[in-house]
Amino acid sequence: MNTARSSVTGHFCGGWRIEMKTIKRFLAAFENVLLILGGLALFILMVLVAGDAGGRYFLNAPISGVYEISEFYLMVSIVFLSLAHTQRKRAHVRVEFVLDRLPISVARILEFTYLMSAAIIFALVAYVAAKNGWKNITLNRWTTGVVAIPTGPSWLIVALGTAVFTVRLCVDAIDTLLAPRNGEDDGGGATTHSAIGGDT
């Protein structure tokens, strides 16, 4: 993946150090938990769909509700629970050609703007997803298939994933501004985060 190399992210400094450190440690730990849940969803998706096909072919006994569970719960978990972790690894694709040739201070201001505007948008996504999830739960909405499935909680998965992603974007944005002014740093953003997060 083409990750934004460390040029625009880096260390934090001054009085912020302690608080930021704590926030980051909690955030990274939380992201790791979400990532594990996402991985679990991926594993279940693989086993369920393959099991459904195999059961149908060999035993004439497919698994009911695979389609709906895959859509409403597994796919939603796979995509949204890993968003924040992907940002921590700076793995969202971008064109770096121009950014790399700008003075580091300009690049940092740009990076800060990118991250904060994305944070605003994804905060909105989290808010409306949570609102709708809550509404579906209070109105007790279920699908009407062989296996009935409540739709509300799956919206809350989206809300959770995008909310954590929003926090990650804000933390990275602050990080970018607080990075030392003397240009190239030694390992930078992604590595610093990984070290703090324990990364497992």
């Binding site: 497919p62 009911s64 709906e68 699908t143 009407t144 062989v146």
Partner: protein
């Protein structure tokens, strides 16, 4: 003009429902002497099928296509017409009229208006039939253990109740699945099946059953509706009814096309005998009962709606 409304649905511009929608909108403009105009966005340009209802609620569009079967969590009662073997009739115009009556009265009052939208137009597909790539399927015993594609929801329950194995396959992949024998057959309606060219892979299809209908609603944002003068409101609803015969005729043409395809394969359409139909019905009654039970448990007047629909559909 005084009003310009955005109309959105999910049908490709080549689909007959899309053409029929264009006819409807043209007719409304004509009836109102151009006091209202429409911007029409077909083919999921503004939202996916399952999100179109939201688009009407939040103002992205004014009038949208709302398919109850994809919105069964929000429009559960409107899926009543997808239940099997009710009023076993094959007159599509009559079915359309009956559903339109149910929609504009009970369904609007009970579950559509509370969502902030109002149904003003409804369509139903031709009744779903059993289709097979091999032998004729005439008795319930023959259905035991064979694999039939269903599009989920109530249909999946029907397949299971009949003793067959339901297989969920997205519509675009149905053709190769039939070709390779991933499924032995499918529940489908004849005209739509012709749209996917399934007659190339199907040999036999029933034509006297009603294994459910696919309902289509067009709903308008209620606030927008209330800004419209009464004569425009009336024009919208009336024009919607007046273009139905055209879509019914188009369906008939496709049914002939489909039937001819089956005959080219050495097969054709056939009828299930009355005595057999009784047996199918006794198996399928549990599907209707399960639908009623699960919705009544949520406090919804499912039995009343089912009874009303039975009345209307057999009238």
């Amino acid at each position: 003009q005084e009003f310009t409304l955005r109309v959105a649905d999910s049908f490709p511009t080549t689909h007959q429902y899309s053409k029929n929608t264009q006819d409807w909108l043209d007719l409304v403009e004509e009836k109102t002497n151009g006091r209202i105009a429409f911007k029409y966005f077909p083919a999921e340009q503004l939202a996916k099928s399952a999100d179109l209802l939201d688009a009407a609620q939040n103002g992205l569009a004014d009038i949208v296509y709302a398919p109850p079967l994809y919105l069964s969590d929000r429009l559960p009662l409107s899926t009543v017409i997808a239940l099997p073997l009710i009023g076993n009739i094959t007159d599509q115009q009559a079915l359309n009229d009956a559903f339109n009556e149910l929609v504009l009265s009970e369904l609007n009052d009970i579950e559509i208006l509370p969502l902030g939208v109002r149904a003003i137009r409804s369509l139903v597909t031709a009744p779903y039939q059993v289709m097979s790539r091999g032998d004729k399927l005439e008795t319930v015993e023959q259905l035991e253990g064979i694999k039939l594609r269903s599009s989920g929801g109530v249909q999946e329950r029907s397949v299971e109740a009949l003793g067959a194995v339901p297989v969920a396959i997205p519509a675009p992949d149905l053709y190769p699945a039939l070709q390779r024998g991933t499924v032995d057959g499918t529940l489908f309606n004849l005209p739509t099946a012709a749209g996917y060219k399934l007659q190339e892979q199907i040999k036999y299809a029933t034509d006297n059953m009603n294994l459910g209908l696919f309902p289509a609603l067009y709903v308008i944002n209620e606030d927008v509706w209330n800004t419209l003068p009464e004569d425009i409101q009336t024009a919208l609803v009336e024009a919607a009814r007046e273009v139905i015969p055209a879509v019914v005729q188009a369906d008939k043409d496709r049914i002939s096309e489909f039937t001819k395809g089956l005959e080219d394969n050495g097969g054709g359409v056939y009828q299930i005998e009355q005595a057999q139909l009784q047996q199918w019905n006794s198996k399928l009654s549990e599907v209707r009962q399960a639908w009623v039970d699960s919705l009544e448990k949520q406090g919804k007047p499912a039995q009343a709606i089912l009874d009303r629909w039975s009345d209307l559909a057999t009238k």
